[in-house]
């Protein structure tokens, strides 16, 4: 068997190229069908996400048409683009390297954001789609299940997926440590920037319902407020509304502080001391840092949040080596299985050969024994089978052991020579 992966990802190709080669969910099934028509004996899975497009294929070693060039041609043909356009962005891995690659991808060690959890789902889905199209066989079932298993191992037994790694999720995490129930909390956005919206989004995911937006340009405030079913507030009436806000996200382009301690002190008085969470993601800062000293007020600026992000990214990176080792263990397990697959047909033939000889000998023996009772004859048959199985036991054990250590091929060759089996009716690819 020959496993091949051809693909490109965020490291090897720009988004312009990736989007040209991407498969939409509906076209994946079409592509799988077409691929199987081109290479009928192959197994195939297509993984297409926004960061990578990869085609995993596996075929009997001897099918000569099954080369990387052939797959490039297939991709070019399917997407109707010239091969030269993406040729140099492509990577090709074979056998062990291909298996390694898939396991790394599934475990999110190859992802743009290390340890992200989406990719596992995407690999699972790619595999399920291929299964439903009948494009997978014994090898890919084992391969993908083992890859998903590796991903699970890595995620549960390492810190690779721990700690938030974006500004908005870190902000939301801090918010979670101040407030318990978000459904009765109000978020106040001051200055409707892109980052502010991201933070808002992750807070809305936590359950925040009430949103207020204030912006120098009132229209922009109204637009954003409408998007979240919130209320637009005029910039000059900002102070009056402040007391109603539990969480303030400030990101104006103002060159000076917009919120001063006296604003917040006033608001806190009206709030009767209920805690307030202020997120200042503007540069230069919008909120006077003195505000952070007020009781029950928690002020975070962009550096505080970025600091946590960097810390978490660092922690994930430190886990990579450990994860690599875990993945390699799984890869080894799969490769051992592959080797075992190589010896399975040979073992079956060896067993068949032994029992065939035994049967012949028994047939020769039967007439010579005269009128032996059926019971006694069965005893003879049983003894013969027992002897053969005993003789076979060690060769089979050794075979499995050899396969595990990568000596499957040599083993098959040896038993072929020793017992003269497998030269004509052999269906195993290695033996052709």
């Amino acid at each position: 068997m020959n496993i091949l992966v051809v693909g490109l990802n965020h490291k090897s190709a720009s988004v312009e190229i990736r989007e040209q080669l991407a498969f939409s969910p509906s076209r994946v099934t079409e592509a799988l069908d077409r691929f199987r028509r081109c290479f009928p004996s192959s197994e195939v899975v297509i993984l297409s996400t926004c960061n990578r497009v990869e085609l995993y294929a596996c075929s009997p070693k001897t099918s000569s048409e099954f080369t990387e060039e052939a797959i490039f041609d297939f991709l070019a043909g399917f997407h109707g683009i010239e091969k030269a356009r993406f040729r140099e962005n492509m990577y090709v891995y074979q056998d062990l390297a291909a298996v390694n690659h898939l396991f790394f991808v599934a475990s999110s060690l190859d992802s743009m954001v290390l340890g992200e959890s989406q990719i596992v789902g995407q690999v699972k889905e790619a595999y399920a789609t291929a299964c439903s199209q009948g494009a997978t066989g014994k090898v890919f079932h084992q391969l993908f299940q083992q890859a998903l298993n590796a991903a699970k191992e890595v995620h549960t037994h390492s810190k690779i997926a721990q700690g938030k790694v974006s500004i908005s999720s870190v902000a939301a995490e801090f918010a979670e440590k101040i407030f318990q129930d978000f459904s009765d909390k109000t978020v106040f956005i001051i200055g409707a920037g892109e980052m502010a919206e991201l933070v808002l989004k992750s807070l809305v995911e936590q359950g925040v319902r009430a949103v207020m937006v204030s912006n120098r340009s009132y229209d922009r405030a109204v637009a954003l407020a409408n998007e979240y079913g919130g209320k637009a507030v005029r910039f000059d009436s900002l102070e009056e509304e402040l007391a109603r806000a539990d969480i303030v996200i400030s990101s104006t382009a103002a060159p000076h502080y917009v919120l001063h301690p006296e604003h917040i002190k006033g608001a806190m008085q009206r709030r009767k001391g209920t805690p307030m969470f202020l997120i200042d993601i503007a540069v230069p800062r919008d909120i006077n840092p003195e505000v952070g000293k007020i009781e029950n007020v928690y002020l975070y600026n962009i550096d505080d949040l970025q600091g946590v992000v960097s810390q978490n990214v660092g922690e994930r990176t430190r886990e990579v080596e450990k994860c690599r080792a875990m993945v390699e263990e799984e890869v080894e397990e799969f490769m051992a299985w592959m080797e075992e697959m190589k010896i399975v047909p040979a073992i079956a033939r060896l067993r068949h050969h032994f029992h065939h000889v035994g049967k012949e000998e028994l047939e020769r023996l039967r007439p010579k024994l005269g009128n032996l009772s059926e019971e006694s004859w069965q005893e003879v048959v049983y003894t013969m089978e027992r002897t053969l199985n005993k003789l076979l036991h060690r060769p089979l054990e050794v075979g499995k052991e050899e396969a595990k250590n990568g000596g499957g091929y040599r083993y098959v060759e040896t038993i072929k020579k020793l017992f003269g089996i497998g030269h004509h009716q052999d269906s195993s690819p290695e033996n052709r």
Partner: protein
């Protein structure tokens, strides 16, 4: 009471110590301490504790508060019982990490007194003893939880103010939920405290056990002061909707009073509570009982 009765409690306290170590470990290094043990250790500790309490109760044929040792065994049991209730109802992360060390310290403290025998008068009415002590002990237990939650609140607040983004911040509950729980345990503990005190007054009036000057008894005075502090705290919380660190600090102050009322007053040598008893006295008491 004989020394031998201490030995099972040593074991129980050691289990609480291990529970504490495990919970603190889980809070600071979640990977290093398995959840299974964090669940099992307190379970075993509380199971043994309950059995031991039943044994003590059967020995004195009353609720086991006839001496300081028994009272601490009973109080710590109440504390862990209320803790279990809170855990069951609200599932507060890391509560055990703060509570078990406290229980352990109380346990070791009373064990360290050794045979320093402190006993309550033996001729107490069963009915009034139950009516007076059970609400009080449960009330104290609830207020202990309020205290522990306050410590957690102040710890979490410190993490947030100083932006320490570490296991402590992630392991502790949110300020809002701690604030709510402080409030809940307080409003559970306060009525019980009141009830216990009211029964105490009835008792003292009814049987005159503290003499005519009963209101000058240090424990009565301290109990009243404690009650007033918590009443003021509740009033502030309801009336002014005060949140946060000030409530937490007041809770801690209230708890110090509780501790002093419960354990401290016996140093004053008052009749209420526990006195040093000589071996002969114990024999006599036992003799009378038998």
């Amino acid at each position: 009471m004989e020394i031998s009765a201490y030995s099972p409690f040593w074991l129980i306290v050691v289990f609480y110590l291990l529970s504490g170590i495990w919970e603190v470990g889980r809070l600071l290094r979640p990977q290093g301490f398995s959840k299974q043990w964090a669940d099992r250790l307190p379970f075993v500790a509380f199971g043994l504790h309950s059995l031991f309490l039943l044994y003590l109760a059967s020995r004195v044929e009353n609720i086991p508060v006839t001496n300081l040792f028994e009272s601490v065994v009973f109080l710590t049991w109440c504390v862990v019982a209320v803790f279990n209730g809170v855990e069951y109802l609200y599932g507060v992360p890391s509560l055990g990490a703060f509570l078990f060390p406290l229980v352990t310290v109380l346990g070791f403290w009373v064990l360290s007194l050794g045979d320093n025998l402190l006993s309550a008068p033996s001729n107490l009415s069963k009915f009034w003893l139950i009516a007076h002590t059970i609400p009080l002990f449960m009330g104290y237990a609830a207020l202990t939880l309020t205290f522990v939650l306050s410590l957690m609140y102040l710890t979490q607040q410190r993490q947030l103010k100083h932006k320490f983004f570490g296991p402590l911040l992630l392991g502790l509950p949110s300020l809002e939920s701690l604030d709510r729980l402080m409030w809940k345990t307080l409003s559970f503990g306060f009525p019980l405290l009141t009830l216990g005190l009211v029964f105490g007054i009835f008792w003292v009036k009814y049987s005159n056990i503290l003499g005519p000057q009963w209101y000058m008894d240090p424990k009565v005075v301290m109990g009243t002061v404690t009650w007033l502090v918590y009443a003021a705290l509740l009033h502030l919380r309801i009336g002014v909707t005060m949140h946060g660190s000030r409530v937490a600090l007041l809770n801690i102050a209230g708890f110090t009073l509780v501790l002093f009322t419960f354990l401290g007053t016996f140093f004053l040598g008052a009749q209420h509570g526990y006195k040093k008893v000589s071996k002969e006295d114990t024999m006599i008491i036992k003799g009378i009982k038998e």
